[in-house]
Symmetry: C2
Subunit: 228 residues, 2 copies
Amino acid sequence: MESMSSSAAPTGRTGRPPVTSRAEILTAARRLIDRDGWDKLTIRRLASELGVGATTLYHHIRDKEDLLVQLLEYHVGRLDRPPLPDGPRDRIVVAAAAMHDALASWPWAAEVLTTDGFVGLLDESALWMVEGILAGADEHGCTPEQSVRLFRSIWYYTVGEILVRAHTARRVEEGRLPEFRTVFDADRVPHLAALGARWRTLAVRDTYPVGLQAFVDGLLAQADAERA
Amino acid sequence: MESMSSSAAPTGRTGRPPVTSRAEILTAARRLIDRDGWDKLTIRRLASELGVGATTLYHHIRDKEDLLVQLLEYHVGRLDRPPLPDGPRDRIVVAAAAMHDALASWPWAAEVLTTDGFVGLLDESALWMVEGILAGADEHGCTPEQSVRLFRSIWYYTVGEILVRAHTARRVEEGRLPEFRTVFDADRVPHLAALGARWRTLAVRDTYPVGLQAFVDGLLAQADAERA
DNA sequence: ACCTGAACACCGTTCAAGT
DNA sequence: ACCTGAACACCGTTCAAGT
């Protein structure tokens, strides 16, 4: 397997030595996103950030999507794990909120997040949140079907919130948020018209946690009723 | 204001006659999406679909995003409106489901859907679903704050479901859905491991409507408790 | 074994010139 | 008033050639 023709190779390997590595690429990608923004992460820019040719990256990643998945997994994996409460209902809420907060830090991962079965791509180290939700549902008395449905429902709510708010935040900092209508036809949409400009004030509030609690309670009650 | 130098102009206008129009552009865009897929909608392709120069389109639309907003509004506006039930709770559920179904037909509108305040971009003809939800919440006894929060929560859930499932569906038909893990470490994630291959079977089910009902009930109960 | 530049097949958008 | 081609500043990815 090994060759002995090459000179000055520290390891027992043959051929041209690597100029970069997976870890280096992922760190540079993160640095680039944090500094220049998510939309600036391109293969070409990432390569020049590393000082290598663009095509070199294709020896370390399959394609751009593979880079995204690796990036998310790499960083979710180094998150520290908060203690989960004892009660099953609260365990679900805390685990889901932790999942939300973890992903909300990397809202750029939309392409990855919106893959059904995304969970199957992750390492065990990033799956304790999923496990926490499933364990809580099970302990509450849910069937496996109900537990999976509960998880998926919460997942949709969480992904939706992250994507909408991330997108909005980006537009705000780019200063190109479309001006919001405050006047509506009171004959056709009376409630909307009555709210008027208050909508805007109310819409910027962070209602994820309180909505999550309502959802978990609703889902658990529904599961109970189904089994009764 | 008017000029009289140009010849053979049917209308009283001056200058070169238009080769296309807003309506023609929107119809062509829809045709292109339906035929070739969402990701094939580019300014250049759309122009050649119409048989005009790419730069011509910039006289009818501001930029690509403007095209998307107009496209969504144009098609949501021609949806027919189902009757809403009398009870406030059921009204919310039916209106939200109608909103979901309408948007799920154009899941490509992700860029538009994930703009907070997206509602403010729409015409009254497309807002009866929003109005239906707000009216139901109000009639149930919700405060304006609670009604807006209820709507936003449902909106996040709905958008998340649409985006995840649309993305998954696209990958399936492109035949590049990542293979799903079915084996997990039973010591670290016992519930996930116990589910194993069943997850995949359960995850393809359409659980949007049943999840919606649980969410609405949870949100209304929460609102009641807050006011008690 | 790994790296590279050239090339391919695209994008959205601007702008000066034409009708 | 409206249309146009050329041009600008980019993309992701492939491939043959180099070390």
